[in-house]
Symmetry: C2
Subunit: 604 residues, 2 copies
């Protein structure tokens, strides 16, 4: 009655080598010239094993125990086994998997890190946030730090010897960082004294590493008001002594945990109130450009959060399938199936199958999509061709809010559906399903709420460049439709894809026109618009996967690997039962802002 | 930062007296001849006060503390304040509000009990389940008990001196009660010795009352297999001594709590594993007809669970509105609104309003619908005219699964949306929003999962009588459309109502045809079908409410009570933004069962 998990290796390999044919791309990039398919598969296998064998066993116990705060010492104790798991993780070199070899990393593709994230979040989201945020801090310093900062901090973060955080939110501001008040005063030695209060700092204090490197947003004394007056600082828990890899920790810095939050889920991750009492910090990047620097971290983090949605969808699915095959209850509506038993396993019931297939279809499309986006990230940063880098960067920018919001909204509804498969047992802690639901709820909130993601998509990513990025994706869809649309056997997938593509084009134009007259039209349509575009993306990946599977099934007949039979069946389910959601969402998106804005505030 | 709640008195009065004009109906019933509108309003006011002042203050603390089980004594301690609140409740006579005066009840309409339920569940679902289940047990005995059983147990249950439970589920069977194994052996004195194990028994053991009257399903020695061999028994925790109202408690009976579940929510309600160790019980109703008897209890309970969905929607809405008016963050997309503040309250943002209005539109329609159904219950049991009773009984039968499933599904999504309004603060326990979400999750599961409700609706309530009951409701819709459809000013409400009515008719016929060929078509469409019919019902009630509000606004202009302005605005929101969900759901319902059933079990 504990959570089960098997790494989805076969499907990962399908996505990498059959769908995305990633080796064709990675071989073009000098940074990955030594990476072959075997290496990739081996990394997936070994990292999956770590998740299933080390992280999963401490997931439910970590939830039950939670983190504990010692008010006198101002320290946080993580749940039993968390530190030991991190020791194992660190010793195996997992933290540096996709990090820069110049600073001790293994230099493997970000795609593998994303796949590893998926499995980490399937097995222990609370634990995985400690190393996940460390990578975020690493990436930010990697892009914006001075060479001295990089040579000091990157090896420590990349090895997992130290961990990282991002300190943005304050009690009075989260989404609207322009209001933040934490102050940074320049000192004679080039450092800053930083004073203020931060909240919701994930992994802000813990007992798993020797030091914690906080990246803190604060204001310089003469900073302009609003978002243009925010600077970014490194504020380590312990001041480093020495330089580079040989650095050690020295005096305790004036940044403390003042308390931890009691939350709905992710109990094993410490969500800290941080107090900066004249803490010593060093500027990262240019003064007043802190938000730009932080965005590097935030975009990576948003991909990571999307993987949390995917990971929880996958593990919820696996557990619900096991239960639905095992639990016998009532007979099939079409007559008994398990005639040797007093009732049929509940997987015979159409609606149970619908709940299971919904989670599976979202997980498999999410994996294809998420891994493809991760490959765009590798291309953006490592491809020798500038046009390729630019193109990939555009896709990253367009797709990031979809990865974050669509995958986490689906993660929430799928986790809830999979809990429902268990009936009353889903509501009981020991089965572990309700933890998955509770953990999944945060993913729609942090790193920019899903409403913020939807505004980012329609406003910044689509309308701001007159749909140029969206058209690039549209071109991929059109090319696919033109290639496969001529062949009758693909029509069941190509036609609905072409149809939703046309509808997105029309809807985008309509909303663009409306937006010029009234900015609230954007806000009124944004969330539905993101769901519709998300379905366009998923329909595209499902159509591509379906073509591969159908070809295999047609070519190999009865001898085909049942993996392809299943892939084809799930594709058909997606087009029949999930894509139709867009019919309602398009109507909602088109319904305008008037009925939202009519009610005066005092009448709410 | 604790949960807030104001009883929705104004809206309740609108529903009772302006929408449903309930006095016209109740005056026709001799049982309620002394009930006037003032009495009704006063009961609403006083019961609302009890909820806000007594139940709400112990809701979050009850969640944090939970119930505790003493393994040696086999007893359960409820959270601090629960017993005292129940003492107050009992002393004020609230338990007997709508119960039979013959056994000491106040004999008020069930409608008032339903309104009280709504407010109880808004303020403390866990606590309210103790008296709620007691009413369920009362109703079952009231219909099926012998006169001796009634005169002994009803006064005790109706006063709250004793409480009640329903003991159905066993470890291996919940939905499929045909498999249950608990055994009842007849004794020479006419009683039975009952042995077996039950799980998920809400309020099964606690410290709030002198005795607990368990209604237990069990099998007689020669009972036929399956659901036709189940009998119902009264099994009190303490054996009663004496008769009627003067009875007291005697020896401890052999029914014990063996443990309590640790659950996602409703922590303050004890969910018990019950062990029957040759416990003494008495047969209720006829042998082997226990399921029929239990259905009386279950139908009432399903209405109650719908009210849990409504109550949580309302309280989630109220708290999210308060936060959205108070929290300042970013500026309106159309330019600053609160120019005296550093940012605008988040209620200026269209998507925040959409989340709030969604909860409000579902709450107000749910209230109108739920109270109307409760009135049907009163008519069914108390009206002097047989046809009226029959008609109301049909409406009850048709609507019960919609009350249960549609209102609790909406309760879950609305609670989650309202949590989202709080951003990160919604995820933190102290604000109380995440408790509302956790509590709301059970309502989709117990008293028959929402999938079971949807199968009950389409299979038993609609297709089994060739849509006769649905046509009766359709006639009400048609009459409304014909009355108001001729007047231009109502077109914005009447036209979409007529449209969804036509679509439901067509969809029902199509599914009926498909069902004849393949029973799995019913299971494949059921959940979407229930959502579509639910929207037909809500569109009907919103249209009726909109007509009343529009008439008021048109007649009274600027001087109109802003209650009607708001009602009209929310009605318009419902038709613009919520009803369109049906476009997707109809497509899903029509998409058939093939893609659900294609995947072989072993490929899941």
């Amino acid at each position: 009655m504990t959570q089960k998990y098997t790494p989805p290796l076969r499907d990962q390999q399908f996505v990498l080598h059959e769908l995305l044919k990633v080796m064709d791309t990675y071989q073009q990039m000098p940074a990955f010239k030594d990476v072959d398919a075997d290496t990739m598969n081996q990394v997936l296998e070994e990292s999956g094993k770590f998740c299933a064998e080390v992280l999963l066993p401490i997931n439910q116990s970590g939830d039950a125990e939670g983190c504990t705060f010692d008010r006198d010492a101002r320290t946080v104790k993580t749940p039993k086994g968390f530190k030991e798991a991190f020791d194992q993780f660190r010793e195996a070199g997992w933290q540096g998997l996709a990090l820069d070899p110049k600073y001790g990393g293994q230099g493997l593709p970000a795609l593998l890190q994303i796949a590893f994230y998926e499995m980490q979040y399937s097995t222990n989201q609370a634990w995985s946030m400690y190393p996940g945020l460390t990578i975020g801090a690493y990436e930010c310093l990697h892009v914006h730090g001075t060479e001295a900062q990089k040579s000091l901090y990157l090896p420590k973060l990349g090895s997992g010897e130290w961990t990282g955080t991002m300190c943005l939110t304050e009690p009075h501001c989260g989404t609207d960082l322009g209001m933040l008040r934490t102050k940074a005063e320049p000192q004679a030695d080039g450092s800053y004294k930083i004073t203020g209060a931060k909240i919701f700092i994930s992994s802000g204090e813990h007992d798993m590493a020797d030091n914690i490197v906080h990246l803190v947003l604060a204001r310089l004394p003469d900073a302009p008001a609003g978002t243009k007056g925010i600077s970014l600082f490194i504020v380590p828990k312990f001041l480093p002594v020495g330089e580079g890899e040989s650095a050690t920790v020295g005096a305790r810095n004036g940044i403390y945990c003042g308390g931890i939050e009691h939350k709905m889920g992710i109990h094993g991750n410490s969500t800290c109130q941080m107090v900066l009492e004249g803490a010593t910090g060093w500027l990262v990047g240019e003064p007043n450009k802190g938000l730009n620097a932080m965005f590097v971290m935030m975009n990576g983090a948003r991909l990571g959060v999307g993987m949390q949605g995917l990971g929880l969808t996958e593990v919820a699915y696996q557990n619900a399938v096991a239960y639905a095959k095992d639990r016998i209850q009532s007979r099939s509506l079409t007559g008994p199936k398990a005639t040797d038993k007093p009732a049929d396993p509940i997987i015979v019931h159409p609606d149970v199958r619908k709940m299971l297939l919904t989670a599976r279809a979202y997980a498999e499309a999410g994996r294809a999509f998420g891994y493809w986006v991760a490959m765009q990230q590798d291309i953006q940063f490592q491809h020798p061709d500038e046009d390729a880098r630019k193109e990939a960067g555009d896709m990253m920018a367009l797709m990031t809010p979809i990865v974050k919001a669509f995958m986490t909204d689906n993660g929430w509804t799928c986790a809830s559906d999979c809990l429902q498969v268990f009936g009353g047992h889903g509501y009981i802690k020991e089965w572990g399903m309700e933890q998955i639901v509770r953990d999944a709820r945060i993913n729609m909130i942090y790193e920019g709420t899903n409403t913020i993601q939807s505004l980012d998509l329609i406003g910044r990513k689509v309308l701001m460049d007159n749909g140029a990025k969206l058209k690039k994706f549209g071109k991929m869809v059109t090319e696919f439709v033109e290639t496969y649309g001529t062949k009758e056997q693909y029509a069941e997938f190509v036609n609905p894809l072409a149809d939703i593509g046309d509808k997105v084009t029309k809807l985008t134009m309509e909303l663009g026109m409306k937006a010029m007259g009234n900015a609230d039209e954007v806000g009124a349509a944004a969330v539905s618009y993101l769901r519709v575009v998300g379905h366009l993306v998923y329909a595209y990946f499902w159509a591509r996967m379906a073509v591969i599977a159908l070809d295999k099934v047609n070519a190999e007949g009865d001898k085909v690997d049942p993996f392809y039979t299943a892939k084809l069946a799930v594709a058909r389910f997606y087009f029949a039962k999930l894509l139709p959601e867009t019919a309602g969402e398009i109507r909602k998106a088109r319904a305008g802002s008037a009925t939202l804005m009519a009610l005066p505030e005092e009448l709410f």
